[in-house]
């Protein structure tokens, strides 16, 4: 009999662990609420001009921000609470990188945070999944932020997000002790070779390698079915052939002073000290400054030689923004918070603590922002030749593959026109 009891117990525990193991995948990061909702009822009567009046209930909100932004976000949230003293809040902050926000939100939009930060390349997917709540106070957002940022936050003429940074683009870092003329690739590569250094750029990424094509007047366009239309295999409005652009990329890639870098590996390559120049963004500013020392300099992207003429490189201008989850139970307060987190003071605080270039026009005009070498370069690049990249999900893998072929110097010797035709065909696939 004892044996049976034992085995029954075993079975029950087995089943119990099974239940426990499967049922517990919801993250519980809600802190305990301060239970003073009742006292708040009294104050609801007093009307305030701009701020929404407090209702009796406690407003629970979840915010996702990048790991480096946790302290700052918490401080800003405290200020938000102070600005709305009539309302009880229970706001918790979770960690989610801006680069991956989409991946985790789309898994289960209803379980995602109410307010989250993301990079602008994800906005189309988020809008398609109806995750983003359209901005109500469009007047404030579009008048206070730079034009490019507002454009990047707009899909089909609707403003969907609150921009907070305008520095998520790439430009040229160079060591002024090595490179004397940073205005064109030929000079940069020659200078680097003379100094025994290399000039690096990520080729195998549709975000970086599109810069050659955008600069020559080519475009990408996202269609309603999720496919991307591109004209890279034809002739651009500037009268430049796509094959000439590809040949120009090959010429750079096969130059011995050029170093193709894998996406995400830029920091490692900077640290090796072999580089005299690199195309990257503000996220590498500290590393580059350390590597280049007193030669540290940044400027707009150089021109490249295309069929005998100098063509400026364009760039996929990048912005970071805060979105509000349309599935949120407190969508109104979530929008208030998003607006607060992206207002002028918050953006100024963000620059002060994290050196993030503001998208807010007034905050961007502050002298300390203007003096930041990297941010000045990205702002100049965006203004000169920045394009808000409009592409679908099927754009990335084919362009990455194309860039890799270019970076390897087209080892199979495939006809460039064929390569471009294949690329255009692949990105034109509807999502299936």
């Amino acid at each position: 009999m004892k044996k049976k009891v034992l085995s029954t117990l075993l079975c029950v525990t087995m089943a119990a662990t099974m239940f426990a193991g499967c049922g517990n995948n919801t993250t519980t990061n809600n802190s305990t609420t301060t239970d003073d909702a009742a006292t708040n009822d009294v104050t609801t009567g007093t009307e305030e001009a701009a701020a929404p009046s407090g209702s009796g209930e406690t407003i629970s909100l979840r915010v996702w921000a990048a790991e480096e932004d946790q302290t700052l976000t918490n401080e800003l949230i405290e200020k938000f609470k102070e600005a709305n003293p009539d309302q009880t809040f229970d706001i918790t902050v979770g960690v989610e990188s801006e680069a991956n926000a989409k991946d985790d939100i789309l898994v289960d939009p209803e379980a995602a945070a109410d307010v989250f930060a993301f990079a602008n390349d994800q906005i189309v997917d988020l809008v398609n999944a109806n995750v983003l709540q359209p901005v109500q106070d469009t007047e404030t957002v579009s008048s206070q932020n730079v034009e490019g940022a507002v454009e990047a936050a707009t899909v089909n003429d609707t403003l969907y997000a609150y921009p907070f940074s305008a520095d998520n683009g790439y430009f040229l870092y160079y060591d002024s002790n090595v490179v004397t003329d940073p205005t064109n690739w030929d000079a940069i590569l020659a200078d680097c070779e003379a100094a025994g250094k290399k000039a690096g750029m990520v080729f195998a990424s549709g975000w970086y390698n599109a810069s050659f094509f955008y600069g020559a007047g080519f475009t990408t366009q996202l269609n309603a079915d999720g496919s991307t239309t591109m004209d890279w295999n034809g002739t651009s409005v500037d009268g430049i052939n796509g094959t000439d652009v590809a040949q120009a990329m090959l010429d750079i890639a096969t130059n011995p002073a050029f170093l193709p870098i894998t996406d995400g590996d830029t920091a490692n390559q900077i640290a090796t000290g072999t580089l005299g120049a690199i195309v990257s963004g503000t996220w590498d500013a500290a590393a580059v400054q350390e590597a280049f020392g007193d030669g540290y300099a940044a400027t707009v992207l150089p021109t490249y030689t295309c069929a005998g003429q100098q063509v400026p490189m364009g760039s996929a201008a990048g912005y970071k923004m805060i979105g509000v989850n349309a599935n949120s139970a407190q969508v109104g307060w979530a929008m208030e918070l998003a607006l607060f987190l992206t207002n002028e003071e918050s953006q100024a605080a963000r620059f002060e603590q994290r050196q993030i270039g503001p998208s807010n026009i007034t905050a961007g005009e502050a002298p300390e922002v203007q003096e930041n070498i990297a941010i000045a370069a990205v702002v100049a690049q965006n203004a000169a030749n920045g394009v808000v990249q409009s592409v679908g999900n099927n754009y990335w893998d084919p362009t990455q593959s194309f860039g890799e072929i270019m970076a390897q110097g087209n080892p199979d010797g495939t006809d460039l026109q064929t390569l471009l035709d294949n690329l255009v065909e692949a990105v034109a696939q509807p999502v299936q």
């Binding site: 049976k4 085995s7 029954t8 079975c11 029950v12 087995m14 089943a15 099974m18 239940f19 499967c22 929404p52 991946d103 789309l106 939009p109 997917d125 398609n128 999944a129 109806n130 995750v131 709540q133 359209p134 109500q136 195998a204 079915d225 999720g226 894998t262 996406d263 995400g264 590996d265 490692n268 390559q269 090796t272 349309a326 949120s328 139970a329 407190q330 969508v331 109104g332 999900n393 099927n394 893998d397 084919p398 990455q400 593959s401 194309f402 860039g403 890799e404 072929i405 390897q408 110097g409 080892p411 390569l419 294949n422 690329l423 065909e425 692949a426 034109a428 696939q429 999502v431 299936q432």
Partner: protein
Amino acid sequence: MGACMSENVKTKKENPAAEFFRSIGAFFKEFGEAVAKGDWGVKASLVVMGAGYWKRKQIVKGVLVTLLEIAVILYTVLIGIPYISQLGTLGEVERAMVYNPETMKNEVNDYDNSLLILLFGVISLSFLVVAVLLWFANVRNTYRLQKLAESGKHINTFREDCSAMLNDKFHFTLLALPVLGVVIFNVMPLIVMICIAFTNYDQNHMPPAQLFTWVGLENFKSLFTTSLTMTFGYTFWKILGWTLLWAVFATFTTYFGGIILALMINSKLTKLKKMWRTLFVASISIPQFVTLLLLRNFFANNGLANTFCASVGITDFFKNLGWITTDYIPFLTDPVWAKCTIVVINIWVGVPYLMLIATGVLMNIPEELKESAKIDGANPFQIFRKITMPYMFFITGPYLVTQFTANINNFNVIYLLTQDVYTTTDQKLAASSGKEIDLLVTWLYRLTSEQYNYKMASVIGICVFIVCAVITLFAFNFLIKGDKEETFQ
């Protein structure tokens, strides 16, 4: 599958498939008999399930069964029917949201969520099937009671029934919870996942904001066709080919590597046996993913291995041979090099396990066998080929087969070594998010996690299952035939 299995065991047992269908037939025959010949109690339990038990004074049992019946009917009417009725379309009302500035909240219409409809529809439908089967069984049970009563035999009280569950029928009690768990947590989700292969659930049809619906065999068609714009077919066959090749290489290199290593350590000429064994086992104690991520950095284009090869002159040597055209050795970035590197790294990661298993088996080979072979004049290689290997094969056969299927699904090694490092230069593969070094399972993973293409992932999942099932069945039937047992007795 059933038919294939049954042919081999036909000699020993009766065909299990036929037996299965016969028992189903018997079940319904008995039910028919119960309806035809049952007394009023049995007939009343067609409507009120407890009636038959009440007639035989089994009050508690009757009440419990009737309560269950009421619960099932209530569930079906209130929850089941609404979901089941929508299973055909998977919902028709798309979500619409309007922001109300006064309440500061979104006003949402009464929308359909396709995923929930599919999930609850399938669950409710299976509840219903089980309930109907229970109803059949219940009528049959009351008829059995009637026959017991007619032949004047003892009818169990509730207490006796309960104690029977702890004694004669203890296996039922014991298995009830685990079986329930398996059904709820494995079988049900599996059915839903399989259903998704026949829908258009992808990033353009994501619940709750959008609906998805049935598309029949469309997804299977697109997996097997290659057209100008669709390269799924091309990618599938290419990846399937490498998956199988990889499984063969990965399984047999580690298998023979492990045996040879174990033989070498076991050899009488080897000194410090325990030290060698410990050294190799030590590599197991490091988590696999740490090893793999470290090796990925070692073998990167600008990694340690390349720096070393360049300084020693191996890179130039390969260049002169014409094996590489780059200034570095593309260990993990060229299709052929990467495949070789991955197999070699897998040997390093997998051999210690096999060495341990082989050591155990080798120690169990009867020494007399080898001695008598030696007396008969067999050389060490002949002993290895004729005695050691057959013995090894016999003992480790099942392990070999499971290892093979595990390698088909060996996500870790491939994904951790190549993610963010390997970029395909095959434009057709890139168009379907595939890479030369992808296994079906890593391709599936990237389709779901990066492209949200759940329907294609589900289709590929089904294909992986079919491949694994076919190979396992063949392997078990041909590799490990049951009749070898006598050879080693």
